[in-house]
């Protein structure tokens, strides 16, 4: 009796395994911030990823295999993110990793990716280090990094002619690195430019909700230009408080490196002042290509909002994986990582190429001036300034990457 039960069980197991094998899906593991103050970013990424997966599955999958997405919450903390990624790799056995919002998380996680031998495409975290000092064979980035975004800012800053510059940025690696790169690039472009000392610039802690003291500080230091790398809720609070304190009427140039984020513009609506220079990693109106128009229209149709840069990053990374698998002719992790190197593909923002030497995507950086438009409830960019990827991506020698 016992034996018979066992053999039935074995038979069932055998059938189940063979069914699974026949339908074996290619698995992608996503790690984003899904809870806490920045959960909106994880949600955008998830929406972008799911849109891409649905499209690909409807069109027959990747090399005939359906795609299955696994989503994990990084909570924005490095140890949690690492645990989540280990779970994805060792337990869910994903073929590919996509994700990472925070630069701090990315810098901690990336060195371990090499041991897990699973390719990772970073879609948001912007620290140059992950395609620089800690770069490795398996790690790629599809989104605009700090160096690219700030190089464009420096080119704009040079055009304004403003000489004495200061900054307001979040008090962690991202804010400080943005300022460092700005100083580095602008001092080369305009030798007359000066940069305020450490005690004069403003780095409000991330938890700040009242920026008045910082606004007062910057205004009273009488700069010619201010580069602002605040983002998310910090940026919304800063802009509203700064407008009410006359910051934007003062006689200096203002550059917001991440001001054209759709979640920020949507929340601010018509309270976003017009005529400010704002940068972003993706702008849904910047590229006239059929692919971009379709992506934006489909996204709006499905989620009722314009795609943010994080949605775009996750969406594009899924397609980059598809292109890499097709190029490699296999979902083998090492072959996919090899195929991603030097891969050229079109994504909504335009043509990109994963540079062979450091794995950073050579991608355009978008800036523009805020303007009102009756067709939109929020500010849009007019004119839009597109900085070509080759012009803003630092040469490999400067990245510090050696693989």
């Amino acid at each position: 009796m016992k034996r018979r039960a066992l053999s039935v069980l074995l038979a069932v197991a055998f059938v189940a395994v063979s069914v699974l094998a026949a339908n074996a899906a290619t698995k992608i593991g996503f790690t984003y911030i899904m809870s806490g103050p920045f959960s909106a970013y994880g949600q955008f990424a998830k929406q972008g990823a799911e849109l891409a997966i649905d499209e690909i599955n409807a069109a027959g999958g990747i090399n005939g295999q359906q795609v299955e997405g696994f989503f994990e919450d990084s909570t924005g903390k490095a140890d949690v993110a690492l645990r989540a990624i280990r779970k994805l790799v060792y337990q869910d056995k994903v073929d590919m990793l996509i994700g990472l919002d925070s630069s701090g998380v990315a810098k901690t996680v990336v060195p371990s990716i090499e041991q897990m031998k699973t390719p990772l495409i970073i879609t948001h975290a912007a620290t140059p280090d992950v395609t620089g000092s800690v770069c490795n064979k398996y790690t790629f980035r599809i989104s605009v990094n700090i160096a690219q975004n700030i190089k464009a800012a420096a080119l704009l800053a040079q055009e304004t002619g403003a000489k004495k510059w200061t900054t307001v940025g979040p008090d962690y690696a991202f804010g400080h690195q943005s300022w460092e790169y700005f100083e580095k690039y602008l001092s080369k472009l305009n030798p007359e430019a000066t940069f305020m000392a450490k005690d004069q610039v403003a780095f409000p802690p991330f938890k700040t909700t009242d920026f008045s003291a910082y606004i007062t500080k910057v205004m009273s230091s009488k700069p010619d230009g201010v580069v602002i790398s605040l983002w998310g809720g910090n940026l919304i609070d800063f802009i509203r408080q700064a407008s009410s304190m006359g910051f934007f009427d003062a006689d200096f140039e203002v550059l917001f490196t991440l001001g054209a984020a759709t979640e920020v513009l949507t929340a601010l609506g018509d309270k976003m002042p017009e005529g400010l220079w704002v940068g972003t990693r993706y702008w849904f109106l910047a590229n006239d290509s059929a692919m971009n128009k379709k992506f934006a229209a489909d996204y709006v149709k499905k989620y009722g909002a314009y795609p943010s840069y994080n949605a775009h990053g996750a969406y594009s990374a899924v397609y980059a994986y598809k292109a890499a698998v097709e190029k490699a002719g296999s979902t083998d992790k090492d072959k996919v990582a090899m195929a991603l190197e030097g891969l050229k593909l079109e994504i909504p923002t335009g043509m990109i190429e994963f540079r062979k030497e450091d794995h950073q995507a050579i991608t355009d950086a978008h800036w523009g001036k805020t303007a009102a438009d009756p067709a939109y409830k929020h500010r849009i960019l007019k004119p839009i300034k597109i900085f070509k990827g080759v012009d803003v991506t630092p040469p490999v020698a400067e990245t510090g990457c050696s693989m």
Binding site: P205, K207, M245, A267
Partner: protein
């Protein structure tokens, strides 16, 4: 000199907001003996309910009036169905319970209003600027500086000059004795928790025109409110006032004088007070 004045105003307006949150926290602790972790979530709820009311009636003043009252209803339910059951238990149960309430409220708000950012506009009359020391200064901040002492003063008068206020103080002083002389202590507890909720929610509604709304906004402010309460003395009303202003001003001037050390100021203040006056500024030794 201008900088000094502006930083004083910045510090005062932030301090007044902290005071409103901290005074609710400290009152609930003083009377109920419960350290309410969910206090920050009630602050957040006040902001969201104010925003929702404004969407219905298009008036900040109605939002400020109705929003916190709706939050009080939620507070009453929490007290009646959850908190009441753990008054007699060990303090760790109360901490766990209020922490659970925090998680539930945060996620409930996320489900209703989404995890994105929302903004609330100040009323027309307060949205302008005035010239102070040659700089433009937002009227709304001056309004915050005024409203803090007004609400604080009314509370103080309530506790000291009304029968109800005196009963509450008696119950907080010795609840067994109070019960013995025929005071309905459970009712007192319920009303005090409702009052604490109202104060947190009013703080949230008043903060809404200043800062963007996200479900976790309460988690940030609750930490500083705890510091205010400990610095001022647990359960002390004047302590909350002085502690909040002290912290507000220190943080504001810290941005000018302390540089990156500014981040550590609240914790340094906390450590110094605990070393010098372990019971806080305004609490008599136990």
């Amino acid at each position: 000199m201008e900088i000094f004045l502006l930083n004083t105003l910045n510090g005062l307006s932030w301090g007044m907001l902290l005071f409103l949150i901290a005074v609710g926290l400290t009152t609930v602790f003083g009377v109920l003996g419960v350290l309410n972790f969910a206090h920050g979530s009630l602050f957040m709820l006040g902001a969201y309910l104010c925003m929702q009311t404004m969407q219905f009636f298009d008036s900040f003043w109605l939002g400020l009036l109705i929003g916190p009252l709706c939050a009080v209803v939620v507070g009453l339910l929490i007290e009646k169905y959850l908190l009441k059951k753990v008054y007699d238990r060990d303090v760790s149960y109360q901490l766990l319970l209020t922490f659970a309430v925090l998680l539930i409220l945060d996620d409930a708000v996320r489900m209703i209003w989404g995890s994105g950012y929302h903004v609330v506009e100040p009323p027309e009359i307060l949205s302008g600027i005035v010239a102070i020391a040659g700089q433009d200064y937002p009227v709304y901040r001056l309004f915050l500086i005024l409203i803090g002492p007004v609400i604080g003063g009314l509370l103080w008068a309530f506790f000291h000059y009304t029968k109800w206020g005196k009963i509450i103080r008696a119950a907080s002083f010795d609840n067994i004795m109070a019960e013995g002389v025929g005071i309905n202590v459970p009712l007192i507890y319920t009303s005090v928790f409702a009052l604490g909720t109202w104060l947190a929610a009013v703080g949230g509604a008043l903060a809404a025109p200043q800062q963007s709304l996200i479900p976790s906004m309460g988690e940030k402010i609750i930490i500083e409110s705890f510091i205010v309460v400990v610095v001022g003395g647990m359960g002390s009303f004047p302590g909350a006032f002085v502690g909040a202003l002290l912290l507000g001003l220190l943080e504001s001037f810290g941005t000018v004088f302390a540089g990156r050390m500014q981040m550590a100021i609240p914790y340094i203040l906390l450590a110094v007070i605990l070393l010098v006056k372990p019971n806080g500024l305004f609490r008599k030794g136990v």
